[in-house]
Amino acid sequence: MSDTFDRVATIIADVADIPREKITPESHAIDDLGIDSLAFLDIAFEIDKTFGIKLPLEQWTQEVNEGKVPAEQYFVLKNLCERIDGLVAEKAAKV
C-alpha cells in the first residue's frame, strides 16, 4: 500500500504539477488537489502503464453518477491505491 501510494503520489506530482509534500493518503484528488477530469485521464494513463492494469474509469464514473458509490471511494488516494492493489492482484491471479 505505501509503495503503491508513493508511486501514485509521484505520478500525480509529475503529471499535475502538484508539490509532492501536498499529496497525502487522505487527499481527495479533485476536492483537495484540484485535479480536473482531463488531468485525471493523464494520471490514469500513467497509472495504467506503471502498474500494467486498466483502471475501470467508465464503470467508476457511472457508479458515482448513479449515486451507488460515494466519489471518495475512488478519489481519496488511499482508497484509489487499494483499488490499484486489488487490480494488480486480480491480474496476477489470472496469469
Binding site: 482531463l38 485521464l41 493523464d42 490514469a44 494513463f45 495504467d48 483502471l55 475501470p56 474509469l57 467508465e58
Partner: protein, 155 residues
C-alpha cells in the same frame, strides 16, 4: 482533403483492428482559402491541420476498434514534431497505431509521410464517450465514404 471543412482523410488503405493500426491517404488540395493566409504567395499546410489529420486517422482507428460504440475526442497532443514543409497537391501517407486502450480514454501514436519522407509525428490522447445525439450517423457516413471498414483487417 477539404481543409476548410476539417475533412482530412480521403481513403483508408489498411486497417488492422486487432493490432490497432491504420494507414490512410490524404491529398492536399491545389487550392484552399487556408493558403490565402498560410502564407500569401507561399502556400503551406499549417501544422495544426497536419495534427488534425493525424488525430482523424487515430480517431477512425478508435471508432473501428470500438465498432462505433464510442466517439473519440482529442484531448491532448504530446511530442508533436513537424520535420518538413508540404504544400498544394502533396499526397500524404498517414499512419496511426494504438499505444494504450484505457477505460474512457485512448492514446495513439501517429505520423505522416510525404513522398516517403517523414513529415510529422505526435502522440495523441483521446477521451472516448458514448456518441452524442445525432453524431453517430454522420460519422458512420464519413467512415463509409473513406472506406474505413472496406477490407478491414486485410494486411
Amino acid at each position: 482533403m477539404r481543409l476548410e471543412y476539417f475533412d482530412m482523410i480521403d481513403r483508408v488503405v489498411s486497417l488492422d483492428r486487432a493490432e490497432g493500426r491504420i494507414a490512410a491517404l490524404a491529398t492536399v488540395p491545389n487550392e484552399s482559402p487556408v493558403f490565402e493566409g498560410h502564407f500569401p504567395g507561399h502556400p503551406l499546410v499549417p501544422g495544426v491541420l497536419l495534427t488534425e489529420t493525424m488525430a482523424q486517422a487515430s480517431g477512425y482507428l478508435l471508432l473501428a476498434r470500438a465498432s462505433f460504440s464510442h466517439m473519440p475526442f482529442l484531448m491532448g497532443v504530446d511530442k508533436a514534431r513537424f520535420r518538413s514543409f508540404v504544400g498544394p497537391g502533396a499526397v500524404l501517407e498517414v499512419e496511426a497505431s494504438l499505444e494504450h486502450d484505457g477505460s474512457g480514454y485512448a492514446v495513439t501514436k501517429a505520423a505522416i509521410r510525404a513522398e516517403g519522407k517523414p513529415l510529422c509525428n505526435a502522440e495523441l490522447r483521446f477521451k472516448t464517450m458514448p456518441f452524442p445525439d445525432g453524431l453517430d450517423a454522420p460519422m458512420r457516413e464519413r467512415a463509409a465514404r473513406i472506406g474505413l471498414l472496406d477490407g478491414a483487417d486485410a494486411r
